[in-house]
Symmetry: C2
Subunit: 644 residues, 2 copies
């Protein structure tokens, strides 16, 4: 298994492996918490839910624990349990990098062993079908998440192999992948199907990279290429089950992005997480095969999402009904679904777009989704999780201990625990720095090992010092991201200021020189508090601003501002100050002088008198950190009056 | 059948019958349209839907035409068809008062004849059960609307009797009511049940008033008294069906207001229409029996609704999920469900609260619900109908030709066609004028006939001239409503100004004198444009005002203001002018100078630059009239900046 040997020639930028990056600074303590708390919590709750009972053939069958979903009596969330286990194992694997933990490792080994005992003779491995409905395997790819489950198990197995060197789980899953490759394909007697919930595509790319086996890439490409082709696979499958479209709860194949072949897709539709997982797989295939025919779709989808359907917090999918998209500019705040997994998936997609080149628009959105819509999903103590993420709360929205569809908890945990791998992209003669965070990276350009050490308090401030230490002098390009939010930036190399203007293209300062041990960079990003206005097409946000500083979106919480947050008004052009805030692990608050409205008659629901206004100090905290101190109201888009 | 002879002593104010009021002015043309267009349209669409096929035993059974509702495989909207027919017949009856129409009358007679043939030997009469599931009658009162259907048929039959003098339909329904009285009651072998959807209670009161038969009142009281008692009737019924609460889609008896006995209820909960129909029945029973034990509940429910849960348009029930209430101050605009039927039902409830005395707070809300949340349900041409009523639309919300649950079309039609009966309340020595509209009323105080003639352009302006013409001089009180929205009011009697201050109590100017033929009153209500502010607890409305003039709530439409209505800003303290508007049947528009924001970068979804502002004329039209000219955006709560 040699990754380098099998690298296809057209792949541009690869993310580093987790063992290559030691993360401190902002994310360090979060990863420590995941290693010591969350990784165990996830396994605890999976097992309490009955997942190991379902997986382990030596245990009594748990039977149907979670009632079938309303409106679709064929699908229970138990069918997704393998995916939850897969993601939890992946998070545990990253935790084991952070901190050896024999207890945690033994717990994972127990689950791996159970999967080993469960696996069928022919390699098939889905716990729901093997134990509940063995005769029904591969009969409902549209709804039942069989290949999705396989994908997450594969990702968990690859991560666990990297983390521990133990090959057992990856071999189990490789055997399952080989079985899948025997069932699905364009050959005689094979099924031309694909999963209703994309995920296996990107997982197979990871498996190919880990094993060096191109056949897994080919299978991923098959799933991408087949999606949405005519005759429609799900239609045939549906007829075989004796069903019609009237029986299909979601009514349209837009829900799972199989309405047209992927290369014809131009607008982001349907279930948000499915969409971004699919586009991630498409980007991987475009990168690995140098397949330029996927690029027009990917570019159009990216533009459609980011210019019309993205929350300022880097999440998307406003509707709970389809956990996804509705219509352009439909971005309500109080009812924003904006599933944590959708922001996580957007980080994946953006990161994979960066595989085709260091371009700021992808990295900017990756960072925005990471620090806001994704990170908010995990409590600071690592024990509680948001599933849906409104941008305004009356006080009734809190993180869950668990969810009957627990996709988000292990998803945000595995993302944060592996955040180092999103910081860099490495091509043959380029190292791209996508994200800034106190860290030490051990990379290689060509055959030359390069250590990059970031010293920074980012995102508390915008000063980043980078030590570039190749093992020997080497010529390569260091591409430093200049975030779109930065009002200005300065760069010095070994103490000498350099002009960024000539260096920056596509959002990256590309410094091409012969780097020598001891080279030192200092990058300073101007990080003022920004008041962000939304397009007039987003009705709910008009007359309001969101506060951002660097990559962080801020929000008001009742604990800092009292109740009735919509009674507060910011003056246009007001001055903001940054100040410390207790209880949020070193986060910086933003404060400003504003006004508070008080009603003319407290009990009146409606009255023809304007409220009085009194001065009020308004204080905002990072959105990711809300609901960590006290329950109460929360508001991202704050009223602002006047013009500057 | 003599209503007067059976009037219980404690009933205070009775509404007049429809034949007592000739309506012109604002409502006259609307009623004409219903008489000439809507009454036929309703029957057309009911019959096209298959309703007569279901009712007429001589026709082939239509079978299941409308799939069972998602989440409750026991209930199809076809089970409600009798109610739609009942309300459509009621609307047709009022239409026949307005304008004799032998074709319309013959169409109703055909339906009545079919019901006559359908009725079972024992008097039972529900078309779904008799033709589809005859063995299942009375097995699911919670969900299947059997008594609700009976109620609407009774109301239709009473109206048709009054309109035509034909007794057949009322006798059919009286026989059915007698059958119901034999099945339900506290006697041995009787069922202590009541309907999951209240309605029959108020219908039985109407039947009692029309027939003079107190036993129908008693049956109504039985249903009111039994509701929510322990052991819970729906629980026993559920067990008999072999179901558990887990099978109940709505999960709580709050949904149908049977969670506690009615006298213990203090907060408005559950399905909005059910709630207001129930409270209407409670108010009727309180009035008819002088039952003061119902009053604390009615008062608390009224306060809870009007101080915490009412839209400014006089509708309620924000949520589509339960078609009803959620939590206090949850009044979102774009997603407001605010079913037309809920506003209609609130008119019913308010009107019945006025049965216990002329009190302005009830009449004010009755008027607000009538002119706004209810009236908006019917297009100006009488052919199209709103079911749900958002207070903000991106342009995708339009009136329906029909709805698979067509409860609203005949409901708003029967209300408007009978609006004259809501204008007055008559007690032994008091005539209360609740609503102002060009009209002629033939009433009686004691034995003395009194003609009241209103000459007014109301609500175009606030000048009302009333001719009081008793057949002979008579001493009684004329109680003239002084609306809560009136900034000031003046009254003259026979040309002499009188001081209102000493006359007004509880929102009515009570003029007690000996009235003689030729007496003339002139009431002038100051009707400026008001900017209405919502409680700070209604987050979505902060920084915004709704425009009202008299009873009318106004809104902005794209056709008058261009797109992106949330880009428009009203200055505080700005001047409004009233002006004519084309295409809205004489409605008055409101215009003001304001500002329009234009974005710094048109394609940017988010940007750190405030929009520019340019002067813009802002024009508003009555909410009831929106979506009658061109499709497009609509907005009730308009941004306003600054303080006065």
């Amino acid at each position: 298994m040699n990754t380098a040997a099998s690298r296809p020639p057209l792949a541009l930028f690869r993310p580093p492996s987790i063992e290559q990056i030691k993360v401190g600074g902002f994310f360090g303590p979060r990863i420590d918490t995941i290693a010591t708390v969350t990784a165990h919590t996830l396994l605890d709750r999976c097992i309490e839910a009955g997942m190991l009972d379902q997986v382990d053939p030596d245990r009594p069958n748990p039977g149907l624990r979670i009632p079938y979903q309303t409106g679709n009596d064929q699908v229970t969330t138990q069918m997704f349990w393998d995916s939850d286990f897969g993601k939890s194992i992946e998070a545990a694997a990253y935790a084991l990098y952070r901190k050896p933990d024999p207890v945690l490792e033994a717990r994972v080994d127990e689950i791996v062993d159970a999967y080993g005992r469960l696996q069928a003779e022919d390699g098939y491995l889905n716990s729901w079908y093997l134990r509940m409905e063995p005769e029904k395997r591969w009969t409902n790819l549209r709804d039942c998440h069989e290949l999705y489950d396989a994908g997450h198990l594969i990702e968990g197995a690859v991560a666990y192999f990297h983390a521990t060197g133990k090959r057992k789980f990856m071999l189990i899953l490789a055997r399952y992948a080989d079985h899948i490759a025997s069932v699905f394909g364009s050959g005689d007697g094979q099924r031309r199907g694909y999963c209703g919930h994309p995920e296996i595509e990107l997982a197979l790319v990871r498996l190919a990279r880990a094993t060096g086996e191109r056949r897994y890439l080919d299978l991923a490409r098959f799933f991408i290429d087949e999606r949405g082709q005519s005759p429609h696979y799900f239609a045939g499958e549906m007829r075989a089950r004796g069903e019609t479209m009237a029986d299909y709860h979601f009514a349209t194949y837009e829900y799972n992005q199989s309405h047209v072949p992927v290369r014809e897709q131009r607008t982001v539709v349907g279930h948000a997480v499915r969409a971004a997982y699919l586009y991630s797989g498409m980007a991987d295939i475009a990168t690995e095969y140098g397949d330029t025919t996927l690029r027009p779709a990917l570019d159009a989808l990216w533009t459609h999402l980011t210019e019309r359907n993205l929350y300022v917090t880097g999440g998307f999918g406003p509707s709970a009904d389809n956990e996804g998209l509705t219509f352009d500019y439909d971005l309500p705040n109080a009812t924003a679904y904006q599933e944590t997994c959708a922001s996580v998936a957007l980080v994946f997609w953006a990161n994979r777009m960066l595989g085709m080149g260091a371009v700021g628009r992808y990295a900017d959105i990756m960072e925005q989704a990471l620090y806001n819509g994704a990170l908010v999903g995990l409590s600071l103590d690592g024990t509680r999780f948001f599933y849906d993420n409104p941008l305004e709360s009356r006080g009734q929205h809190h993180r869950w201990i668990w969810h009957r569809c627990p996709c988000c908890p292990p998803n945000i945990a595995r993302l944060v625990a592996s955040v180092g791998t999103y910081m860099y992209g490495v091509a043959d003669d380029v190292i791209a720095v996508h994200l800034y965070c106190e860290s030490e990276a051990t990379l290689a350009v060509g055959a030359v090992p390069v250590t990059l050490t970031q010293a920074t308090r980012y995102p508390v401030d915008g000063r980043i010092e980078i030590a570039v230490d190749p093992s020997t002098p080497a010529a390569f390009t260091l591409a430093l991201r200049i975030p779109g939010w930065a009002r200005s930036a300065t760069l010095s190399i070994n103490g000498a200021d350099v002009s960024l203007q000539s260096l920056v293209t596509d959002g990256y300062a590309r410094v091409n020189r012969t780097w020598a041990p001891g080279d030192r960079l200092a990058l300073t990003l101007d990080m003022p508090v920004e008041t962000i206005h939304a397009s007039p097409k987003v009705g709910a946000d008009q007359g309001r601003v969101s506060l951002m500083r660097g990559p962080l979106v801020y929000c008001l919480e009742e604990v800092d501002n009292g109740a009735a947050l919509n009674s507060l008004v910011l003056p246009a052009g007001g001055a903001f100050v940054c100040e410390p805030v207790d209880g949020l692990d070193g986060a910086v608050a933003i404060a400003a002088d504003g006004l508070r409205e008080t009603p003319a008659a407290p009990r009146a629901l409606y009255i023809n008198q304007a409220p009085a206004r009194v001065p009020a100090r308004i204080k905002a905290v990072p959105y990711y950190a809300w609901d960590n101190r006290a329950g109460g109201e929360m508001l991202v888009w704050v009223r602002q009056e006047g013009t500057r």
